[in-house]
């Protein structure tokens, strides 16, 4: 019995603290010269660090997480930035009641080509145009429920402003963006409190959720400035209701999401919806590789006076090919076409583990389209990107 007790104690003790994360060197190679005179660099380099510290009490009663992030960029001082992705405490009681507070990240959308219902975290736009990188959001959350029905409520005391490339940076519109001096519709500015409530129902074959949000929009509205060549950004008040659902069958997952929004004090109304499916094909051509295929349609209707969107009438097609080998080799590819303007954006990416701690990856990003598209300014900004990452 003594041996058993010792084994048990040593095994459980390992859960109290853990560290993981990555440090990476990244480079972007743009296929054309900078289209704007102020912009610098056909080849840019970055150093990235994102350690992730976890403290967990045995039996999961509480958990502390701290995840700082930094990037140092050779050409764009706005891309050189520090953030706290997570700095949070989570408590779990004997019942199904949970409490969490600090800085964290919350994603609701299961779409791949866009995330139409995500509303809590601000986008870290200098990281990537795809909008997946998010800034840490200060929050207090209470939740209850079990694996079939969950209810969560958030109090969000502070609003983060979106990051944008500087005038010297690439992947920015014709006019630079004055991100440092935003305008707030609320007199409380960034401290205007926001809140959200989400109810999720899970079964073995489907998941459906509804989310209500009231507060400040994470999407900025761009406004011309008379005193500055750059455009300013304004964050308006927003009320939003959204529904998202997914149905899981044998090899196909069906997904639908929709949201209605009321912007500003004069209640401009907008709506958006997405529908998609993903399928999996195992043992591709007799190999051990698996392929996931995605197809999605996104529509977003907004009146003048609300933030612009690039997903107003888009079809997205994507693929993820996992070799299931010892090196975890994965190919991903995705492309989006605006059915109204014909603007096309696409990405092809390969990632592979080199050794136990080292992973390398390359990606090619292409933007093609006419000047009638909202994102026409990306037309000359196609680029290649590579990374060498050390995971610990």
């Amino acid at each position: 019995m003594m041996l058993f007790a010792l084994l048990g104690a040593s095994a459980l003790a390992q859960d109290t603290f853990s560290t993981r994360g990555r440090a990476a060197a990244e480079s972007r190679v743009f296929v054309t010269r900078p289209p704007r005179t102020a912009q610098r660099g056909g080849v840019t380099g970055s150093l990235v660090g994102e350690p992730d510290f976890h403290w967990k009490k045995p039996k999961g009663r509480w958990e502390l997480r701290l995840t700082p992030f930094f990037r140092a960029d050779s050409h764009d001082f706005a891309r050189t930035h520090v953030d706290l992705r997570h700095a949070e405490l989570k408590l779990r009681g004997e019942s199904n009641f949970r409490f969490a507070a600090g800085i964290g990240q919350f994603r609701f959308s299961t779409m791949v080509g866009a995330a139409p219902i995500d509303v809590i975290n601000q986008t870290d736009q200098v990281e990537d145009l795809d909008g997946r990188a998010k800034l840490g959001q200060p929050y207090v959350q209470v939740s209850t429920g079990d694996s079939e029905l969950q209810v969560s409520a958030w109090y969000l005391p502070y609003q983060r402003a979106r990051t944008f490339p500087s005038l010297e940076g690439r992947l920015r519109p014709l006019f630079g963006i004055d991100a440092a001096n935003p305008t707030w519709e609320s007199v409380l500015g960034a401290w205007h409190p926001s809140g959200a409530i989400r109810v999720t129902r899970d079964t073995s074959w489907m998941r459906v959720a509804g989310t209500g949000y009231a507060g400040i929009s994470r999407d900025p509205r761009f406004i011309a400035q008379f005193t500055d060549a750059r455009v300013g950004v304004a964050y308006d008040r927003l009320h939003q209701l959204s529904v998202d659902a997914a149905a899981f069958s044998d090899v196909v997952t069906f997904k639908v999401e929709g949201a209605t929004s009321w912007w500003r004090a004069d209640h401009l109304f907008s709506w958006r919806a997405s529908a998609g499916l993903q399928t999996i094909h195992q043992g591709l051509f007799g190999s051990r590789a698996d392929m996931l295929l995605f197809a999605e349609y996104h529509v977003d209707r907004r009146p003048i006076g609300t933030p612009v969107t690039t997903n107003n009438n888009d079809v997205f097609l994507g693929m993820r090919l996992a070799h299931n080998d010892a090196q975890s080799t994965v190919w991903t590819a995705g492309g989006s076409v605006d059915l109204t303007t014909g603007f096309l954006s696409g990405r092809l990416q390969l990632d592979r583990r080199l050794r136990d701690h080292w992973v390398a990856g390359v990606q090619a990003n292409a933007f093609l389209g006419s000047r009638i598209a909202t994102e026409w300014w990306l037309g000359g900004e196609s680029y290649l990107q590579g990374h060498l990452s050390y995971y610990f």
């Binding site: 048990g8 095994a11 459980l12 993981r20 039996k59 004997e94 073995s204 044998d250 997952t253 195992q282």
Partner: protein, 251 residues
């Protein structure tokens, strides 16, 4: 408790006859014999070897909670470093299992649909469906003719999955009449061909009367690839709770 963790099961002598009822009875007996451990935690060394013998190593941490209707399990990668924190949570159900995969790189939890359960788990020769308990209720059990297994005689119990998405037509469990333990399991693919064999070695008595195999070797006869799991620091009765096996704790 109506589940068998095949690598962990102990066996009592079984009559050698060919009948579904007897197969069902033996499967239930196996599940009952495996019951009462409450929960288990263990460290796992996973060694992946290709046909040329080149090896890659993964380290995982496993937690299992005994549950009526199927044991909940959590498998968390500790290495390689880029997979560290990846967690597979399994909730066996009456008709179908639910599995969730937390991917730290995306900070997202994905549902493993039934169409994906026969995919490779972590690049190994184990599939997602191998990483959850074999529920008695979700299989048709048949007692096959006994056969020699090495120098001993083995009782053979066939399990045909009755759930969607399985990559197997059937599994055959070989149970030693001498040691009264599970010796190995033959996996037959959807085409009926003998696809994989899982062998259990190095049984240890974790606590009085509770035996666990510490080495599981899965050989893929089609690719000649091999995955060896070595269990270490096995501990039972750690006071784990259902809350620690909730999908919400993954994020």
């Amino acid at each position: 408790m109506n589940a068998i963790l095949p690598l962990l099961a102990t066996l009592f002598a079984a009559p050698a006859a060919a009948a579904n009822a007897e197969g069902q009875e033996l499967a239930t007996k196996l599940a009952t014999a495996n019951a009462g451990y409450a929960d288990m935690v263990a460290n796992i060394d996973m060694r992946l070897a290709d046909a040329k013998g080149r090896e890659a190593v993964r380290v995982l941490r496993m937690s299992v909670l005994e549950r009526e209707g199927g044991d909940y399990s959590l498998l968390e990668f500790q290495s390689p470093a880029d997979l560290k924190g990846m967690v597979l949570l399994s909730h066996p159900g009456k008709d179908t299992d639910q599995q969730w995969l937390y991917l730290p790189a995306l900070d997202r939890t994905q549902r493993i649909t039934s169409g994906r359960i026969s995919s490779s788990f972590g690049g190994s020769e184990f599939a997602y469906e191998d990483m959850t308990s074999i529920s008695v209720d979700k299989h048709s059990w048949t007692l096959l003719e006994p056969a020699a297994c090495g120098e001993a005689q083995c009782t053979r119990l066939q399990a045909e999955p009755r759930y969607e998405g399985s990559g197997y037509q059937r599994r055959v469990l070989w149970l030693s009449d001498d040691s009264r333990r599970l010796e190995h399991v033959d996996f037959y693919g959807r085409d009926g061909a003998h696809q994989k064999t899982l062998t259990y070695d190095d049984y240890v008595e974790v606590t009085q009367g509770v035996w666990r195999a510490r080495d599981w070797t899965m050989v893929n006869h089609r690719t000649q690839r091999k995955t060896v799991l070595h269990f270490d620091q096995i501990a039972l009765g750690n006071g784990l709770t259902v809350a620690e096996f909730s999908p919400e704790v993954l994020d």
